[in-house]
Symmetry: C2
Subunit: 369 residues, 2 copies
């Protein structure tokens, strides 16, 4: 497949569809690195199998995996999940994977952003990230999609959401961070998003979830339910460091309109009642490696129900064994009356630094010949 | 995808179609190992690019490649060739790849034979071969085909040909060699072929090409042009060690009939006039590695025009810069009047121990939903 040069998706009539539009499938990367996933990633692998098993019931699911873990992944995953070899540095395909685009003629392309492990040499989470930066290209080959590669623009898929109707949302905390694109102004960054996602409006939420090591990805904080409707991570506890973050986001979104001039309907989704902290045992299960963010006892994880994944006929929702799990399930079912809510106990993914949305990447449906 | 247990393709109504039946595509493995391919495999890579470029003009062509060579392969191959990551020990997908099967309802399955690098610990050509032995399974995942895995039956795809009409051909030299299945009698081996290729008749040609390091694979010696018609590597030079081999094959085939009771029409295809020997320079370009067959100055390579590949509308024919190249092109054009003959200068593939047929593997066409 081809690298497309000297043009943009906007010029070519391609746009990023919303996640809630129909998919042809979902990609996941198999977790393995023992300096991020405790106990040689065995508990995480079990949870990833659960996630892939759920998704595979609703749409084709492909798990990509490094060569030495291939037989293990194939053995643990159900037959209906496809397993394909692919080198990687870690398992966050939302962030390093392709951002697929469609046009109205059945065309499929993708944006292949530069990936630098959430901050590169400034505040990146591991080194090196060379294999992750090739994941998008390899997905494009598998899907038969030509790609727009941006060699000098860093972005992760989890730092953007689109409504499929002209509007994107991001956080300033992430997109203006020093480890991403410090050579560009906010206006210039916004222009790249407009050109490559083909949107007219970008919503700039100030900050994401407290202590989120991605510099506050929007996908842990806020999501489009449909055009004009968003769901926002929330807490009523004024002493929680999350409170001011959610409040500022609410105030910002309340005043903004989307690309089509709609005022936003904002639904609050409570974060877990009890902060989720790494236990001593969990911390001791992680290898210490120079250059990788350590996982220390008592660290507060950036737990949020907003980190769910929307697929064909379902929502895969992380739960934590918290009092608020039930509320989240109920709320999501109200927001998505036509989809099955699939709650998955996801503490092991959270311990790795993200959640279900972070480990999935959709391929939009296009009619093939 | 699934491993199918406790049944056979024959029982399930699956058969191996002939190579000349319609394909949905072709697989090739990128060459890289410096103890088999001279000069770090750079000259071989150039020839593999030529082969993939030719095939890709006629049908979808996928080149699979180990992670560290991905960018190099992608950069050297044309855009219309698909590149997918896959670990491997070397680049002979005819031999380690899946043998695909079809039924008459649009089903696609495969046989996943055990692979032991042409003889395992008896007379195998390199060690280890663990990655090659997983190639067939990974192809099945990519193609969405369930597979019959034979854990205790060693076979390479290049050691069999089928006519798609009930007949297979092999060489006794290879299939009865000590490094394959010494625990089985000829009759038992034949039964496995009948059950897994779904054929009624197996032709046992005594020997293959002289000095062929595969223990005389049939695909370098003889091929079906269509049911009832075969092409046989030949020399008229009674002093050539190939003479008695070809003569015995001719005598055997002259007396045999195929599964449908047809007498065989045998076409002789002269091998290169001048034996092809490794030069000193070529030999010096190959790394010496313990356990890998050395490439020494003056070694006679098993050059044969029969090692061609038949695809949708074309025949990819190896040529050697020999006086007999023209004869081979002419003969093949007569035998395949409806296909374009694509001659490719293939000395570099031959230096690695095989030729165009050995580095290709077809996926038969099936109607998809």
């Amino acid at each position: 497949m081809k690298r497309i040069e000297k043009t943009t998706p906007k010029k070519d009539g391609y746009r990023m569809p919303a996640e809630y539009e129909k998919h042809s499938g979902t990609y996941i990367i198999w977790p393995e690195r023992p300096d991020n996933w405790r106990l040689g990633a065995k508990p995480a692998q079990k949870t990833f199998v659960e996630v892939a098993s759920v998704i595979g019931k609703y749409e084709p699911c492909t798990v990509v995996v490094s060569g030495w873990q291939y037989a293990n992944a194939r053995g643990m995953l159900p037959d209906y999940v496809k397993v394909v070899e692919m080198s990687n540095n870690d398992s966050w395909i939302r962030d390093c994977g392709a951002t697929f685009l469609v046009n109205d003629k059945g065309g499929l392309r993708a944006v292949d952003w530069s990936f630098n492990a959430w901050g590169g040499l400034v505040d990146g989470l591991y080194f090196p990230w060379d294999k992750d930066d090739m994941v998008a290209q390899k997905m494009c080959e598998l899907e038969g999609a030509d790609r727009y590669r941006l060699d000098d623009f860093v972005l992760e898929g989890g730092s953007i959401h689109v409504d499929g109707d002209g509007t994107a949302m991001v956080t300033s905390e992430c997109l203006l961070s020093k480890g991403r694109n410090p050579h560009l102004s906010q206006k210039e960054i916004e222009q790249v998003l407009k050109d490559y996602l083909n949107v007219e409006k970008v919503l700039w939420i100030p900050k994401g979830i407290f202590n989120d090591e991605t510099n506050g990805h929007v996908d842990n904080m806020c999501n489009f339910v449909k055009p004009g409707v968003v769901v926002l991570a929330w807490t009523d506890d004024e002493n929680d460091p999350q409170y001011s973050r959610s409040k500022k986001a609410y105030e910002y979104l309340s005043k903004e309109k989307d690309a089509k001039g709609r005022k936003l309907e904002i639904h609050k989704l409570l974060i877990p009642k009890k902060p989720i902290l790494i236990t001593k045992e969990e911390s001791l299960g992680v290898d210490a490696v120079d250059g990788t963010l350590p996982r220390q006892k008592g660290d507060r994880m950036a737990a949020s129900y907003v980190n769910y994944y929307t697929g064909n006929g379902f929502v895969a929702l992380p739960i934590f064994g918290d009092e608020h799990d039930k509320l989240a399930i109920k709320k999501l079912q109200e927001l998505y009356p036509d989809r099955v809510i699939e709650p998955i106990y996801a503490r092991e993914i959270l311990l790795g630094g993200g959640n279900i949305h972070c480990i999935t990447q959709q391929v939009p449906f296009v009619k093939k010949d």
